[in-house]
Amino acid sequence: MIETKTNDLTFSTLDKDAGLKAAIGTKPADVIGTISDSALKGRGGAGFPAGFKWKLAAEAESDEKFVICNADEGEPGTFKDRLLLSDFADLVFEGMTIGGFAIGAKSGILYLRAEYTYLLAHLEDVLAKRREENLLGENILGKGFDFDIRIQMGAGAYICGEESALIESLEGQRGEPRNRPPFPVEDGFKHKATIVNNVETLCWAAAVMSKGAKWFKSAGTEQSAGFKLLSISGDIANPGVYEIEFGTKISDILHMAGCECEKGTPCKVKAIQIGGASGICVPAKDIGRKIAFEDIATGGSIIVFGQDRDMLHVAKNFLEFFVEESCGQCTPCREGNVVLLDGVELLEEGKCSMKYLNELVSLGETMKVASKCGLGQTSARAFLSIVKHFKDEIMGREPISV
């Protein structure tokens, strides 16, 4: 197992399966009520209200329903789900079981990122143990609820972290997003009502059932309740997984991970990429901004760039990633990322006019609104924010003569 540095995590303090025991002793509608009251939003990045998602699936007419745990953690710079899967697997499965109870599903599937194959044996052991303990299987804890979980491996495509592409992949198809609506809550895996939740969301759902909605809601901000795990990496002293309350300032987060910017010494941070490759690049001057759905939302990836980083190279790196990972289905994403990457290469060579750069920015704006799924809608964000905040740096290249 990989050692990951962390701060004190709420998840370490929970009684095992207390949430499940609390949930299964009530009615599914009560569980959904508690999750809704907690104001828990999805931790994968999109921030959809978890209780509402469960409610829609619970109300959907479907002879079979499914709980899918999205463990296809592929966003560059995020590794908090890896920690949860290795150190808190019971909690993940507990959350899935609670979800199953709430929506009326009998089966759950954990879609595990191909690169996490090394965790598979461990996860299977945990599942086996839970079956022995009657926390899975038939008549769970004698309460008449049947539910079991299987694990399906991903095959390495980033796009399969998008929930409808994940479902296509589960069904054995090309991993490509579906048109939405209809949404998985009514038309998901095998066209049955399905909830797809991030690993962390399911863990917090279990925590909420254990410690109560009030406890959770009292943390964080008005619009962003509770806590969030962040994966912090890059040019910083103590990279690792850190739990914060929503509303925490970026500067405090950097400080938590060993940056001395608040202590009066010259800050060596140039920019912070929040939300991974699909996120935005925040210049150091904005470290007073907060991590929250109402300010800067994130699935948890924080990448710190030091003063000597070339921001054009950063933009290029992210675009190369998207050119590699676009599923190729819709025009704006399939072709747009390539055009942006070519543009970055022109910038590198000092051959990009301001007029053409403006064309690229305009194209990036189109990609944000015209792409079919979240991948294409976010792939230009890093580029756009780097152009916005570091224009002098990226435009100031000496032309390369051949």
Partner: protein, 613 residues
């Protein structure tokens, strides 16, 4: 109380009420609001991948694809706005970065959806670049279809057509991101994979990425060669479709104007394929009766139901997918090939022309006919029976190239000795037509009475219509004397008295698959005596060689044209065609399914299977 299923929406300040589940695109059409599309097609499932049709939906963070957005709540939509126009123009700009090819050197110049949209959205430069060299090698391996992936815009209509409508799956998507391609299995040449040559993909391709193998240069060379006697037979469906190539409304028949245009273009003779369609009815009907007699009276093992063999797409389909049922397929050649064999034998003899100097051409609504004409077994005359099969589009192009104003040509008849055939021949062009023609003949030959005694106006309605799979039962209440033509095969009809003939009809090979699976499972189609299969939707009128575009409405219009032409014929039954009587008295003297007819008019099939060699 208001109907929950009726939803009010506003598009560009116009209000409309639609049924829940109607898409924004469909609603806009009802309001005559034009929303551009590339991947959407009326025949296919929603893809939502080109993003040309994006619109603003009030309250939504991002633009939505109008084709893929079902309306389930009241909403306000803007189909045009700065954001929408910018997005559409960007999408075109992006498609241009990969679309290699010059419009004026393209088969689809003037009939290309990408070209139209580029004009509509004022594309006046290649904003993000344009390929200067081809990326892909053209695949010309197939005798029917040419694939030029340099022009492909990845709308996936072809993939959906091949899978959904045809159940073949010759084309699919491989690779990811900018390496995404439409490919065959293992990227093999099209000729080496399971493709039935139906050309339905060609009919739905928005650009010139998929086209028929153009043979017009070869035809011009033949016409221009004074030593060659160039004859063309024309099938019924192109006559119902050719008008569209000349901007006439779909369903405008141009049969007799086209005869004149063909002659003006330099062809020596124009014949009516309906003659050999009528001949097919006699041969295939005789084959059916013989099979039934063997099974029901002689107690012999014969393969039933008998399947039709006119559609070369269907023939290749069954060779690949159900080779174990090839014995069920009628041994009759298609009308095209029967005619081909007769032109280089009977006609050559009659006119005293050396068969080697005859260039025999067909006008077909079909791309698979090209493959069929080149089958090695199609050489009964001692030469390749048919030299070239032209699509409706190819002949249309030739007529335009010759400067002929087809719609305004005077009318002229088909040439002798085959003359103008019957209404039965005409309806070969529509699904159910071969069955109806066969039934008209069988009913009269067996009962000795008029079809009209059983079916008003001889219209056998139960086998008509565009339903994917049809089933009908035809009762034979009484029998008459055996006609002279069949006397040496069948002693009497007593065994058919009171019988019920069970028949099936399927069009589009995905529907054919349903029937075949039903037969395998011992369902009602396994009890049938005769089943008509056509590879293309709507039958030949929806063939892969017909003018582009195609849609259910266009096919409906062509269907009407075909049935009205049938109605207008004096002779509407194959066995009443005087040229048929002539051919059996003068040439095929040992009768239907006799020795000579077997040599010239019948064929055999190849077990191809689904695995590649």
């Amino acid at each position: 109380m208001a109907d929950k299923n009726i939803i009010k929406l506003t598009i560009d300040a116009q209000e409309i009420e639609v049924k829940s589940g109607t898409t924004i695109l469909e609603s806009a059409k009802m309001l005559n609001i034009h929303i551009p599309t590339l991947c959407a097609h009326d025949d296919l499932c929603v893809a939502g991948n080109c993003r040309m049709c994006v619109v603003e939906v009030e309250g939504e963070r991002v633009l939505q694809a109008a084709c893929a957005y079902p309306i389930t709540r009241p909403m306000t939509v803007k189909s045009t706005s700065p954001k929408v126009r910018r997005a559409r123009r960007h999408i075109l700009d992006l498609l241009m970065t990969k679309h290699y090819g010059e419009c004026y050197a393209c088969n689809r110049n003037g009939n290309c959806e990408l070209q139209d949209l580029a004009a509509e959205y004022g594309v006046d430069e290649f904003r993000f670049g344009h390929p200067e060299e081809p990326i892909f090698e053209m695949d010309t391996s197939s005798s029917a279809i040419v694939r030029d992936m340099n022009k492909c815009i990845l709308c996936r209509r072809c993939v959906r057509t091949c899978m959904e409508m045809q159940g073949v799956g010759a084309l699919n998507v491989i690779g990811r991101s900018e390496w995404t391609e439409i490919a065959t299995f293992m990227e093999s040449p099209l000729n080496d994979v399971v493709c039935i040559n139906c050309g339905q993909c060609v009919n739905r391709c928005p650009t010139g990425a998929l086209t028929e193998k153009d043979q017009t240069d070869e035809i011009w060379a033949a016409i221009d060669d004074p030593k060659k006697h160039v004859v063309i037979q024309t099938a019924p469906s192109p006559r119902a479709g050719m008008g569209e190539y000349f901007d006439l409304e779909p369903g405008t028949p141009v049969t007799f104007e086209m005869n004149t245009a063909i002659k003006m273009a330099g062809f020596d003779k124009v014949f009516d394929t309906n003659f050999s369609a009528d001949l097919t009815i006699i041969e295939e009907g005789t084959e059916l009766i013989t099979r039934l007699y063997k099974a029901l009276v002689a107690g012999e093992e014969v393969a039933l139901p008998q399947f039709t063999s006119c559609s070369p797409g269907w023939v290749k389909y069954i060779e690949h997918f159900y080779p174990e049922y090839l014995a069920n397929v009628s041994s009759c050649k298609s009308p095209q090939q029967m005619f081909g064999a007769l032109i280089k034998t009977f006609y050559a003899e009659q006119k005293d022309i050396d068969a080697k100097d005859i260039v025999s051409i067909s006008l077909m609504p079909c791309t698979a006919k090209k493959f069929e004409s080149q089958r090695p077994e199609m050489c009964a005359s001692g030469y390749q029976d048919l030299d070239y099969a032209l699509t409706t589009r190819e002949l249309g192009k030739m007529i335009k190239e010759a400067g002929i104003d087809l719609p305004n040509c005077p009318k002229s008849d088909f040439d002798d000795p085959f003359g103008t055939a019957t209404g039965s021949g005409v309806i070969f062009g529509v699904t159910g037509g071969v069955m109806e023609s066969a039934l008209r003949a069988v009913i009269e030959l067996v009962t000795g009475k008029k079809v009209e005694d059983f079916y008003e106006h001889a219209d056998i309605i139960p086998v008509r219509g565009f339903e994917g799979v049809k089933y009908a039962e035809i009762h034979i209440p009484e029998v008459g004397p055996v006609p002279d033509l069949l006397k040496n095969l069948i002693p009497n009809w007593d065994w058919l008295k009171g019988a019920t003939l069970k028949v099936g009809v399927a069009h589009g090979t995905a529907n054919a698959k349903k029937v075949m699976e039903d037969i395998k499972a011992g369902g009602k189609f396994s009890e049938c005596h005769f089943i008509e299969f056509m590879a293309c939707p709507g039958g030949c009128l929806g063939g892969g060689g017909q003018p582009i575009p195609t849609s259910p409405e266009i096919r409906e219009a062509r269907k009407k044209a075909i049935y009205s032409e049938d109605s207008a014929y004096e002779t509407r039954k194959s066995h009443e065609n005087p040229a048929i009587a002539m051919i059996y008295s003068d040439f095929l003297t040992d009768g239907p399914c006799g020795h000579k007819s077997h040599k010239l008019l019948h064929t055999h099939y190849t077990e191809r299977g689904k695995c590649l060699v």
